[in-house]
Amino acid sequence: MVPGDSAGPGPAIAVRGLRKSYDGRTDAVAGIDLEVPRGEVFALLGPNGAGKTTTVEILEGFRKRTAGEVSVLGIDLAHGGRRLRERIGIVLQECGIDPYLTVIEAVRMHALRYPTSRPADELVELVGLADQRRQRVKTLSGGQQRRLDLALGLVGDPELLFLDEPTTGFDPSARRASWEVVRNLCSLGKTVLLTTHYMDEAQAIASHVAVMALGRIVAQGPPDTLAGRDHLATAIRCPLPAGVLPDGGGLPGLDLPVTVEAGTVTVEVPEGEDVARALHRLTGWAVDGGHDLAGLTVSRPTLEDVYLRLTGTVPELTPGETAEGDRP
């Protein structure tokens, strides 16, 4: 292997037309294209059953693809095998560790398997398990085991790290600490492919996201601009003040188009219009009428809003699946 090849020019992951069908029936992955540049955190999002795990497990070498081209770190997966596994780290959900080994023993045992490895003590420190280093794995809490998972994923000093819902079951400070670990990896030029259910996690650490639904990628891009998020209307929201009755498309005396739903007033300010002006009108109206606006918020749609819209609008999402199952 040519030195420096690992940091080569190509993307960390390149996928074209990837398809996977089980039993030749439905496609769990129905032809996706994906490119993960080196040195980035790339998040793969999607509801359960969208095909995320299948996709990631193909990239990790656990599953064989039905069709398509896949290259990971410049190696075609068909001839990847051990040479590739020396250069990647995998953090899976529900992947056990020998319960009778201690934390430090488990890290050392895994370190042996890689041509280059990070010092065990340093890693245990990094994931915040220094106090538990001599504790047996079976005595760790769920969150501590997940942190040990992360340490084992990093032990081979991988160029590419797969993280499958890495912070499930973490308390908020542990989550933030592991986000910091992931960000630091990227500053070292490592690539991370993350799957997560937490949109705030994707927002916080991913530079690119792809949203999957029903085996397809329905949107792809930086989290801030995903699916035109940066061009979507800003929403001003407040609870409907007491004693105000909405009339048709607005509130009496207020010169703004509003929608009222479930006791919440929403003013949508489209891209290009002045949010301050709309807010000024609303607050002026409230002061004049003596209305209380406690709970007022001004927000762009969050990544979660966009995500729900994307995964909710895939036409056959829920009804299609049940219809398939009910067929005699």
Partner: protein, 263 residues
């Protein structure tokens, strides 16, 4: 392409893996109790309760307490290798431990080699303890045929490890492992005359003769207790054991799975 370098590296990893397997084994009360302590306890109970009388026409000149030394050693090898690997590998598959191994560069043969090596260590310790008890308390002559004994123990242990890996591919999940493995193992042990001598002309003995347990027991018996008319090196029995081991290895290699099937 597998190079010589790969092989030496893999071998080194397998040896280091034995160390970790050993720590895990002795710290696991279920494994250490059922697969190591039980055979020793059985030997003590059977040996001391059987008295110093001869078996009679089945094995002229052999005392019952002597007989139990190779026969309980056979039980020990079966449990430390076959039962231990079948149960622990099924458990590891269920827990995702095997899947994690699959995601590392560790070669499959080095990982399984480490597990087998660890079972061999336990087998040798069992052999020393069992023979030691026999010599100390049960009038077993100090084995003048140590090479035959060592070869018998190693062939038996390796073959039963291979069979253990094969059984692990048949057992669906960790809950099913102990009952499935124990029923089959104890049935074979009983009909093979492990806990009391069985008349070799009986129907049971003919059934037992199809399986490897009785052959290992006979080979160990010949190596431990000198009997007139029996060769010390019992190649015929060892060959049957080795063939079963080879079959087990072939079966395990074809059916080996890293993950428990869902649903």
């Amino acid at each position: 392409m597998v190079t010589v370098d790969d092989l030496t590296k893999g071998l080194r990893l397998a040896v280091l893996q034995v160390g970790y397997e050993q720590r895990s084994y002795w710290r696991n009360p279920t494994a250490a109790l059922f697969t190591f302590a039980f055979p020793v306890i059985f030997l003590v109970i059977f040996g001391f309760s059987s008295g110093n009388h001869e078996i009679g026409s089945l094995l002229p000149g052999v005392r019952l307490e002597q007989y139990y030394v190779p026969s309980i050693l056979t039980y020990g090898l079966t449990s430390a290798c076959l039962s231990n690997l079948a149960v622990s590998m099924t458990f590891r598959r269920d827990q995702g431990i095997l899947k994690r191994v699959r995601g590392t560069p560790l070669p499959t043969w080095a990982y399984l080699g480490g597990a087998v090596g660890s079972s061999l260590v336990v087998s040798l310790v069992l052999a020393v303890v069992t023979i030691g008890f026999g010599v100390g308390f049960f009038h077993v002559p100090f084995p003048h045929q140590i090479p035959a004994l060592v070869v018998g123990v190693l062939v038996g242990a390796v073959a039963f490890c291979a069979l253990g890996l094969a059984v692990a591919t048949v057992v669906p999940n960790a809950d099913a492992a102990p009952p499935m493995v124990n029923i089959v193992m104890f049935a074979l042990l009983f009909i093979s005359g492990t806990f009391y001598p069985v008349d070799p002309k009986s129907g049971l003995a003919h059934v037992a003769g199809l399986f490897p347990v009785v052959h290992l027991k006979d080979a160990l018996l010949d190596a431990v207790i000198p009997l007139s008319g029996h060769p010390v090196w019992d190649w015929r029995d060892l060959r049957v054991v080795a063939l079963w081991g080879a079959g087990g290895l072939f079966f395990a290699a074809r059916r080996w799975r890293w993950e428990t099937k869902q649903g």
